[in-house]
Amino acid sequence: MNHSTIMETRALRSQIEGIATLPTIPSVLRTILRVIEDPKISLKEIGSFISSDPVLASRVLKVVNSPIYGFSGRIASVNQALLLLGLNVVRGMLFGVSVFEVMEKSMEGLWAHSLGCAVTARIIAQKKGVEEPEEVSVAALLHDIGKVALHLKFPEEYAEVLARAEAEELFITVAEERHFSVHHARPGAWIAEKWNFPKNLVEMIGYHHQPQLARNVPVQTAIVHLSDIIIRARGFGFAGDRFVPPVQPAAWELLNLSDEEMKSILGEIDEGLVRAEDFLQFDE
């Protein structure tokens, strides 16, 4: 990277970080995030805070019982959700749920892509015996947050990038790099850091196209990377281009899934996606 590109990237970063909050985050969510930030508050207090708002509580229950997490219909209370999933996961999930509208506005089909990626990541993480599969799901749900950030900050330019990707049959990462000198994963990590997401989550978001660079959670990052590719190959949702990008060989080798395992994963994804269908819209 030459000097002027470094300067450009710095300028881009400060502009992206200037997106203080997403415009569509409802005020109640803003309150809950503030409450969660408070280090003195207990899980139980957070639970009763969420439960005191019926819309929020039902939204949380809807998400935790969705195929993203695989508990399907078994979580009946907010406290149970917090205990099972942990605070960080619930926080990431609340972000995911609240950005879905803006995701869909940024790019039609991006929410479906993200949701499908989260379902896929959870299935692979469970297959690989990853300790906290829910954390990987959340990372997969939010992996393209950088596309949302670019769209929010540079709506016209980003629309041009998308049009170019379509017209010249480019991968979205290539079209983004041509215009912004970085692709969406960097802005994704910047904004995740800015929002104080746990560092594992930042790493998975930032390296989902270069999982070989992940230092703290290489397996989890490889899972998000492969899930992104699988869900595009499956033709579910839209992520900015029509083509499946190649998998990073190191990530494939690291996960080391046999053909049989892959096929059983594809079967589980089909089931998960059928159940995800009605989750693509919120009807509350």
């Binding site: 229950l61 019982n65 399907s72 219909g73 078994r74 009946a76 209370s77 049959e169 991968f171 590719i229 699988i230 595009r232 190959a233 499956r234 033709g235 029509r242 083509f243 499946v244 990008p245 190649p246 998998v247 060989p249 494939w252 053909d259 892959m262 096929k263 594809l266 079967g267 089909d270 059928v274 159940r275 269908e277 009605d278």
Partner: protein
């Protein structure tokens, strides 16, 4: 899967999602094949609709799905890994058509 009005349920339909009471207790579990008794119970409660599994019929033919797959993989087949991934997808599509007994799929009888 579809949300189905309780008034239109018929015995034999399968729940794709559990039905809960307001307090969160599971009333009828996920995957239950509904009987007349279940349906009557749902009707007496204040539940308007439930999620049921509909017969899964692929809305595309096998050939259409394979053509779309070709197109999506068009720019990454230099990679041996992607060739392998694509082959796994082709086999998966073939198998799903055979299992569903879809008329479009190759069957011996």
């Amino acid at each position: 899967m579809a949300r189905f009005p309780v008034a239109d349920l018929t015995p034999g339909m399968r729940l794709s999602r559990a039905v809960h009471t307001d307090s969160g207790m599971v009333l009828i579990g996920e995957g239950t094949e509904l009987t007349e008794a279940h349906i009557n119970r749902l009707r007496t409660m204040d539940i308007e609709s439930v999620q049921v599994e509909l017969e899964r019929r692929p809305d595309k033919t096998r050939e259409e799905m394979l053509a779309e797959l070709d197109e999506r993989f068009r720019k990454s087949l230099d990679s041996v890994y992607m060739k392998r991934l694509k082959k796994i997808f082709v086999e998966h599509i073939d198998e799903s058509f055979n299992n569903n007994g879809n008329p479009g799929a190759a069957q011996s009888d």
